[in-house]
């Protein structure tokens, strides 16, 4: 009897594997969770974009209020698609958006904002190799971080913010943090 069980072992192992494979079909292997969730925002001190009139973006600007940090760049195709929605969020006034102009010539970044509109409260220039963005664990643009009043990162969204993402995910988190 014992030896008969041994012959069952391969099929049992296979069934176990099948469970993982099935689960795997509904996982995204490319989604990398951030390790910075619930950690304080990294220490950054970014210069302003030329002619924008703010003083750049520092860590302390991310404290005292809930904010949305958005990674963009004038070279980034998907950012153009996202941009109108950021403009809409700004118009609604539900949360201040802070921009990080990643791996970009600050002049090009400024020109891009002039062309497509400027939804940001503050923008910091983070030219290559993008130390500040690497400190945020950025893997691509656009990416957005929800930062709470204490300056801690509470949520990271990879990719474009659209109506669905905003209404179903980001806004509820922000509303909760603003209470």
């Amino acid at each position: 009897m014992k030896s008969r069980l041994a012959y069952l072992l391969p099929v049992l192992i296979f069934v176990g594997l099948l469970g993982f494979f099935f689960k795997g079909l509904f996982l995204d292997p490319k989604a990398i969770p951030s390790v910075l969730i619930d950690k304080p925002v990294p220490n950054i001190d970014l210069a302003a974009l030329p002619g924008r009139g703010d003083t750049g973006l520092k860590s302390e600007h991310l404290k005292g209020q809930v904010s949305l940090v958005n990674i963009f760049g004038s070279w980034c195709v998907a950012c153009v698609a996202e941009h109108p929605y950021l403009m809409k969020i700004k118009a609604e006034g539900s949360v201040p958006i802070m921009g990080i102009d990643w791996r970009d010539d600050p002049k090009a970044g400024m020109a891009w904002l002039q062309k497509h509109g400027d939804p940001y409260e503050r923008v910091g220039a983070d030219p290559a190799p993008g130390h500040a963005s690497v400190d945020f664990g950025v893997t691509g643009a656009p990416e957005s971080f929800v930062v709470d009043r204490d300056g801690r990162i509470r949520y990271k969204h990879v990719g474009i913010i659209d109506d669905r993402v905003w209404k179903q995910t980001l806004l509820p988190i922000i509303k909760e943090l603003q209470k």
Binding site: V35, A78, A128, G130, V134, F136, T139
Partner: protein, 153 residues
């Protein structure tokens, strides 16, 4: 369609090519060699399954430069890796660290080898039992037969 676009974009930024560029290399060959050692063990987080040395993605280039900055600043190889783990998680390490999550990974092959040993041993033991049951030859007799068999070969 959106999926396809994303896939194409990923391909476009991840075409494997000459990655390490002479412009970004360190003057000191010893430090540069260390940077290469570290780079080969760090995963390009944008392109799946390529090390930052093997990928021409922009982010990989940035990370190569940051690795070199850290090394020049006096970090040890492990400190440089830790610097990136702090920002991107264990995911960036192509050689997964030994911890609770990876214990089965690292011990698995050893476990397989041990299992293989016991399977082999069990096979010979059972065979021996069956042999005793089947052939009541004495040790002397079977040795004799073996000798004859060998001569035949």
């Amino acid at each position: 369609m959106k999926r396809l676009m994303l896939a194409l974009m990923a391909l476009a930024i991840c075409s494997p090519a000459l990655a390490v560029d002479p412009g970004e290399m360190l003057k000191d060959p010893a430090l540069e060699a260390r940077a290469r050692d570290v780079g080969a063990e760090l995963r390009c987080v944008v392109c799946q399954n390529q090390s930052i040395d093997d990928s021409d993605a922009d982010l990989a280039k940035d990370l190569r430069q940051i690795v070199r900055e850290r090394i020049t600043a006096g970090d040890s190889n492990d400190q440089v890796k830790q610097y990136l783990v702090d920002r991107y998680g264990d995911y960036v390490l192509l050689r997964p660290p030994f911890n609770a999550k990876t214990v089965l990974l690292w011990l698995g092959p050893l476990g397989f080898a041990i299992a293989a040993f016991f399977i082999g041993r069990a096979y010979y033991r059972r065979q021996k039992q069956e042999a005793v049951a089947l052939s009541p030859l004495s040790a002397q007799e079977s040795a004799e037969i073996d000798r004859l068999m060998k001569d035949r070969n």
